[in-house]
């Protein structure tokens, strides 16, 4: 009898120890596909660092629903083909959600796989086409071009009072999508596009492009290229003495672009969906934390990465379980305010297509820093 009791105790202890060990090991897998090398390295690295910071914060507080977030960050090499192969690999490991990529071209090929696997993909891409394919598993972390371009177009018409514009764009999915949407918005406002110039991803010499832009003699020049190309273009534009105002999006006004371009970015203006210079205390606190940890100034992609993780946390806690399909269903139409989740930084709404809506800003580069000159309200999408 005594021996039986001892055995029962031993079994109970073993079971107890096993349960405790399992509780300690409870994790949820959320891999990330990022542009850590190639033309998108600046964007991907920022997104990754913002994401890792959020994951560490959440894990330090016990994780999501008692599960620590387990992640691996895989380099897409800024190549859509590589990205697709890597996505297939991570989907084989049954992730709860996938973060990234940032490059629209990669997102457009990856999202077919995540949709098939019914796994939500929280992306950094901004090409309009991403959310126009009826994919219920894709969610943005920043404005799509169909939301940012009307704001820029209004600024061209009302702020710059331009009658003619020239467009320089990068010949990839991001650039082409932006160029198409921008030209459509210009046409609807009777602003004539007098030069339409494409550049290559990773292009280093912009002298020919700048000569063509100068010859166009437009009232304003809209520049829609990736960060490093933007910096190289700005240097060449300054060298050749372009006088027309240079207007762009976040990729023209980011701090990395300003640093790389040196004084050449001075005076550049544009619409900024996300920025660490936003006059919002929570954003500035985040920026300070980021700078302290990674020793560089975060750009908009860092904010995307950070808020992406808190978006997943909030939605998951709302549904109360790790269910990818339920996540996708719940996340459509959801609004998260800083009161609900302080680390979402700014109130954000995801619509039925996975597009995001929140406040945005008009910025200008002044004394080597991005200065916000106006805050633009949410568009009020449903």
């Amino acid at each position: 009898m005594l021996r039986l009791g001892f055995c029962t105790l031993a079994v109970a202890a073993a079971v107890g120890m096993s349960s405790a060990s399992q509780a300690q090991d409870k994790t949820v897998y959320m891999p990330a596909l990022m542009e850590l090398s190639g033309a998108g390295a600046v964007s991907g690295t920022n997104f990754r660092d913002g994401m890792l910071m959020a994951i560490d914060e959440i894990n330090a507080k016990g994780g999501i629903l008692g599960h620590k977030i387990k992640t691996t960050v895989i380099d897409t090499q800024s190549d859509a083909g590589v990205s697709r192969g890597q996505m297939q690999k991570v989907l084989d490991d049954n992730p709860y959600v996938v973060f990234g990529p940032v490059f629209s071209g990669s997102v457009l090929v990856d999202m077919l796989l995540t949709q098939q696997a019914e796994i939500p993909e929280i992306v950094g891409g901004e090409a309009a086409a991403i959310t126009q394919k009826g994919d219920p598993y894709v969610f943005r972390t920043s404005f799509g071009q169909q939301f940012s371009m009307p704001k820029i177009a209004n600024y061209m018409r009302d702020g710059v009072k331009a009658k003619t514009v020239a467009v320089l764009w990068v010949n990839n999915d991001f650039g082409k999508g932006g160029r198409d949407t921008f030209i459509k918005e210009m046409n609807s406002r009777n602003i004539k596009v007098v030069a339409d110039i494409s550049s290559e991803s990773g292009q280093t010499d912009f002298s020919a492009d700048v000569v063509k832009l100068k010859a166009a003699n437009a009232d304003a020049i809209f520049v829609y290229t990736n960060e490093e190309e933007s910096a190289r273009f700005l240097k060449e534009a300054k060298k050749q003495g372009i006088k027309a105002p240079l207007i762009g999006e976040t990729t023209l006004l980011g701090q990395k672009v300003i640093d790389l371009a040196g004084g050449a970015a001075e005076g550049v203006k544009g619409h900024v969906g996300l920025t660490v210079d936003a006059p919002i205390p929570a954003v500035q606190e985040f920026a300070a934390k980021f700078k302290k940890r990674f020793n560089y100034v975060c750009d908009h992609n860092g904010i995307k990465g950070y808020t992406a993780v808190y978006f997943v946390k909030y939605v998951t806690e709302k549904i109360g379980k790790f269910d990818s399909k339920a996540f996708a269903k719940t996340a459509h139409g959801i609004t998260i305010t800083p009161k609900d989740e302080p680390n979402i930084l700014m109130e954000a709404t995801w619509d039925k297509n996975g597009d995001i809506d929140r406040e945005s800003f008009l910025g200008q580069v002044v004394n080597g820093k991005q200065k916000i000159v106006e805050t633009l309200p949410k568009l009020g999408i449903k």
Partner: protein, 291 residues
């Protein structure tokens, strides 16, 4: 006309840098049959040597000298001793594959040890613009062009007007006969590797203020220099110079006057035309080797 002059000067400056890199290609090929597919990464790396030296507080001129010295030691001497000498005995193909592996290693190392992000690189001269016939030409472009021309001329003088240069020529033309005549062939081959180390370092310092220092820079530069060497003639230093200049100028002019969308295709079209019309390159000679 003003636009044309601007494009021409800018193209000449870029082409001159391509030429420096292409000259290195031909030198190594001529003396040791080394086709160095890591040549682009050889140009990428010295920029990071400069940035590292600057981070340690060195002034720019000293950082540039340190970069050239490191480049000569690592990309010249070590490259020859550690990779070329052991692999060359097994033929050209294993060596080619080794240089491809080396290019990947250098690229990933620069990314891991420094950063994946592009870094600003100090310019050689202040951002002053010069006005000429209505064209605005940056002092930087003129400086790049001038330094590249001086470097090529110095190399030309070394190869043609000195005893050392003639011994290197002899080594390239007929190593067996040169050895019989008392030329220290192995040492001459080593010198070409060291010269290549200097050339890539100079090219790196010239181009990085424009390209920004980034671990992927070698991809574009290596390909451009390789094309330049083939277009001009792989077995002639002067061919590599002509090839580099043609490539730089044509790239700019075609992007401005024909199509910016197809600019990447033009160098390849030129390459195809040259190979069909003159397989040995514009200035190359059939089965002749000389530096």
């Amino acid at each position: 006309m003003a636009s044309f002059i601007q494009l021409l000067v800018s193209g000449l400056a870029t082409g001159a840098i391509y030429a420096l890199i292409a000259v290195g290609f031909t030198l190594l090929w001529q003396t040791s049959q080394t086709i160095n597919f890591a040549q682009g990464e050889f140009v990428m790396l010295p920029a990071f040597f400069v940035l590292a030296a600057l981070n340690f507080g060195a002034p720019f001129w000293l950082a540039a000298l340190i970069a050239i010295a490191l480049s000569v030691a690592i990309l010249g001497l070590m490259f020859k001793l550690v990779i070329v000498d052991p692999m060359l005995k097994h033929g050209v193909l294993p060596l080619v594959i080794s240089t491809i592996a080396l290019s990947l290693f250098l690229k990933e190392s620069a990314k891991d040890f420094y950063s994946s992000q592009a870094q600003p690189f100090p310019a050689l001269v202040p951002p002053i613009d010069l006005h000429f016939l209505g064209a605005v030409i940056s002092l930087q472009s003129v400086t790049v062009l001038a330094v590249a021309i001086v470097t090529v001329m110095a190399l030309h003088l070394l190869l043609n007007n000195t005893r050392l240069g003639r011994m290197m020529q002899a080594t390239a033309q007929n190593p067996t006969l040169a050895r019989i005549l008392g030329v220290p062939v192995n040492r001459m081959v080593l010198y070409t590797f060291l010269i290549n180390g200097v050339l890539v370092a100079i090219a790196s310092i010239l181009i990085s203020p424009i390209y920004l220092a980034k671990f992927t820079n070698g991809e574009t530069l290596g390909m451009a220099a390789f094309l330049a060497a083939i277009i001009g003639g792989f077995n002639q230093v002067r061919g590599a110079i002509v090839g580099g200049v043609i490539l730089g100028v044509l790239d700019n002019l075609s992007a401005a006057y024909i199509s910016s969308q197809y600019r990447a295709a033009f160098p390849l079209i030129i390459l195809i035309v040259v190979i069909l019309w003159r397989p040995q390159g514009l200035l190359g000679r059939v089965e002749e080797r000389t530096v």
